[in-house]
Symmetry: C2
């Protein structure tokens, strides 16, 4: 911390987030149906992992809580691997306090109420037993709740397929987060699973429309905006 | 083909499957719920991909039809990538005729009857809409049906969590395949997602219990047994 402080005085613009703890979630969650089947969200983790790395590059101490992804852990970041939404929430809570929370994971909204302990067998002529779902904990809303452990800046994500701005603006207010990063993941956008992202940054101040950029450029720009917000300086 | 024939005469034991076409399926299938959610089976594709490579090493021309996996295409094999069970069946049919079919993919038994075209939204206080499932086409049973396009040797797989031998023996008869490779994927076995496999080879002749082996050793042994069955020679 002392070294961070000296470095930050020497190079204030290069490491504006030194001394700050940033919590980032990334990737999908997998919710089990039985020992061999699960429900998943499409998410590569590329955007969240890039944000974790970009925040670390600006000097933040970063804890990345990652769902099941196939990409490598970013360097210079503490990575915790989880599978379900419940595990992700527990890991996020355990990682607090943090100054910044960027919740980029595509968390499953629902899980199967009672996963089968044995493989569900296909019976001749019978359909799959109906699945009963229960709502998963809402990590973004939970972390956004006022209280001593609320991070100073909570950033949520919204992957939408239609009425992107309207849905995302409503989501920001409903969740209680400070910023919401909205992106269009409709099949027509070609964003899903790709290497680029076209986002809208929604805050109390209004909406910023960013151009389509590679995911690491989106991450660098978001990290710079976060540093500006927390330190008042433009890196 | 002529070169294959010359090579097979020169080194009959090294390339016993030269001149044979082998069809292999591998990996899971993903069945969409909506544009961002899907149901998946846990399958890395490691065992199926290793079998494709082992059959190619014995001289077979191999077509590998792979569901969504993160491992690399094996060298020396024609690879077709599919996502759903319906796509996998269509690709298998298009790849016939074949002398050998090894259907190692963990095909989803069911798919969602009508995937939503837009992302299903979480409504405050409302649970996820019930999902109605329909049975997927049974690729193993379909390919095992008698007819001019039936491969000479059809090998199915059974991932079981309990009563492994009993379930797999019944499955071989129900599907109409020649051999069934059964393995225990119960959480206690530690096989799922791992690099080893402990299998039982079930045929009309009886049951062979193989020791626990790395997946590429299982693949080499299975390819050698296939060559022996088709050529009458032990490679």
């Amino acid at each position: 911390v002392i070294l961070d402080h000296i470095l930050s005085m020497l190079t204030p613009k290069a490491r504006p987030l030194a001394g700050h703890h940033a919590l980032v979630t990334s990737g999908p969650t997998h919710e089990p149906i039985d020992p061999v089947r699960y429900i998943a969200n499409r998410s590569s983790g590329r955007q969240g992992h890039a944000i974790a790395q970009a925040l670390a590059a600006l000097g933040a101490r970063v804890t990345l809580i990652a769902g099941p992804v196939t990409i490598a852990d970013p360097p210079g970041v503490t990575v915790l691997h989880v599978e379900t939404a419940a595990e992700m929430l527990a890991a996020v809570r355990a990682a607090l306090p943090a100054d910044i929370a960027v919740l980029a994971a595509a968390v499953a909204d629902w899980r199967v109420a009672e996963p089968a302990t044995g493989k569900i067998k296909k019976q001749p002529g019978a359909e799959m037993p109906a699945l009963t779902f229960v709502t998963n904990p809402d990590i973004l809303a939970t972390i956004s709740e006022p209280g001593p452990l609320r991070p100073r800046l909570v950033v949520g994500f919204a992957a939408e397929t239609d009425d992107v701005i309207a849905h995302a603006t409503a989501k920001r207010l409903r969740k209680g987060c400070d910023w919401l990063v909205a992106n269009d993941v409709s099949p027509a956008s070609g964003v899903m699973g790709g290497t680029e992202n076209e986002i809208h940054l929604i805050s109390a101040a209004g909406i910023e429309d960013w151009p389509r950029l590679p995911k690491d450029a989106v991450a660098a720009r978001l990290a710079a905006r976060i540093a500006q917000e927390l330190t008042g300086e433009t890196p």
